[in-house]
Amino acid sequence: MTFRDIPDLALEDLDRDGAIREAADRLPRSSRGGFLKVVAGGIAGAVALGRPPGARAALARGDVAILNYALTLEYLQDAFYTEAERKGALAGAAARLTRVVGAVERAHVRALRDVLGSKAVARPFFDFRGVTESPPSFVRTAVAFEDLGTAAYKGQAHLIESPQVLAAAVGIHSVEARHAAWIRYIAGTLPAAEAFDQGRSRPETLSLVRSTRFVVARPRTTAAKKPAFTG
């Protein structure tokens, strides 16, 4: 069995509207009592004893930014697999992976939106420019996305303040790595090329995402204008 090299996403021009930048760098709005604080007696470890149902610990500002960054990448993966599944252009193993992994990425989006609440960044608009409708393009791009998602989580792990947020993040990080291996296997490339996986920094990751030009401005289909319809 010979393994193909899958090239990195090319670094190209900036995204058209700064949507990705805005999504990732957005500082949390001041909370308006949106979160319930878990009274932990000042000892972080006590939270490990379990949360009352419905309660969420208040998130540190830095962790909010990191979770929103994760959410942005999960939105991208969710939209990518969801569109691919809807378009129905894939078959066989790639189609199966799309259904299974898409279902997981949608769950990731839900989880992150839920924990971030009103601080969650909005879902961007995407234009996949036919990639979800062409099996070879799809597979190549999926490889890049899953490797990127794994590297992105890895790059943030040591920056997360809350050990509970870290606990959640590592559980997702290893799942993304499984996805990466799976799609690589389907692509005919080595599922694990190196003994050590490198992380990617946030600027590097976002630059790669921008280079795909998949994140676009929502098309303007409304206007404050007097109609000129036939009446």
């Binding site: 809807r86 299974v100 949608r106 839920d114 289909t221 206007a223 000129a228």
Partner: protein, 274 residues
């Protein structure tokens, strides 16, 4: 025993090494020591604090989310640049119509996505419903001329005979209202169309508070400025509804158009039948 001046790491590790050394495997495992079920075993972690159990994560991830598949889904796409729509998914096939990237209202023009084909060169073509005359025209455009897909799970049906508009969402009736439609002289065209923009915050009681632009065009008012597009809008004469009263537009009473606007997204397919 910790020698003064040596780093704690080395001294703890030395203990660990001594404990594990030639001991049996089960003892070696016990030497890691935070196992509370083996109280009798001397633990290397008597000195070192036990490793904490994994913490509760800050959030749980729900079960995988299957895609809600419904036959009621339709897809629209913005037109990124003006393009000639063709009769076949082939460069050089007959031009059916030109499609602009903007509507007369200045919004991004959109088309309804119907089918997909890849040509001999590997170019992806999309068959789309067009906002042109003749009504009900479709054509093929390269995928590269379109933007990102939008999904809609609603569709609107206008019955000209019954003077009624019905909005379905996920296959279920979500909205119903009586409508005013075109007169015999200026009939509302029949067929398959879609909602392509929404206008608000204008001052024109004739159109009510909200007006939707559709891809349908009057076949009779061909000289109408801005293309003679059929709209779905409110009215300053609600008493005329239901009835054949308009120049082709689909008129709703104002409270109804406001209700409809909360339920009907841009890109909603529209069927107008007799």
């Amino acid at each position: 025993m910790r020698a003064p001046g040596r780093t704690p790491l080395v001294s703890v590790a030395a203990l660990a090494l001594a404990a594990i050394g030639t001991a049996s495997v089960s003892l070696a495992i016990d030497a890691y020591g935070d196992d509370a079920t083996k109280p009798g075993v001397r633990s290397v972690s008597d000195r070192a604090p036990p490793l904490a159990d994994p913490l509760d994560p800050a959030f749980d991830v729900p079960a995988p989310v299957k895609l809600p598949r419904s036959a009621q889904e339709s897809t629209w796409a913005p037109v990124e640049r003006a393009v000639a729509a063709r009769s076949a998914p082939r460069p050089g096939s007959a031009v059916v119509a030109r499609v602009d990237s903007r509507t007369p209202e200045g919004t991004i023009n959109i088309v309804l996505v119907l089918a997909r084909r890849t040509d001999a060169e590997g170019t992806l073509w999309i068959r789309v419903r067009l906002p042109v005359l003749r009504n009900n025209t479709t054509g093929w455009v390269p995928r590269s001329t379109l933007g990102g897909y939008g999904i809609v799970r609603a569709h609107l049906v206008v019955d000209l005979g019954d003077h009624r508009a019905t909005l379905f969402r996920n296959g279920r009736v979500a909205f119903r209202a009586p409508v005013g439609v075109g007169t015999a002289e200026f009939p509302t065209p029949r067929g398959r169309f879609y909602v392509r923009n929404k206008l608000t915050r204008y001052r024109s009681p004739f159109y009510g508070p909200i007006a939707f632009g559709t891809s349908a065009r009057s076949a009779t008012l061909t000289d109408w400025p801005a293309g003679g597009f059929v709209g779905i809008h409110g009215t300053s004469e609600p008493e005329l509804i239901p009835g054949r009263v308009s120049h082709g537009c689909i008129r709703l009473r104002n409270e109804a158009i406001v209700r409809l606007a909360k339920l009907m997204p841009i890109g909603t397919p529209l069927m107008i039948r007799a």
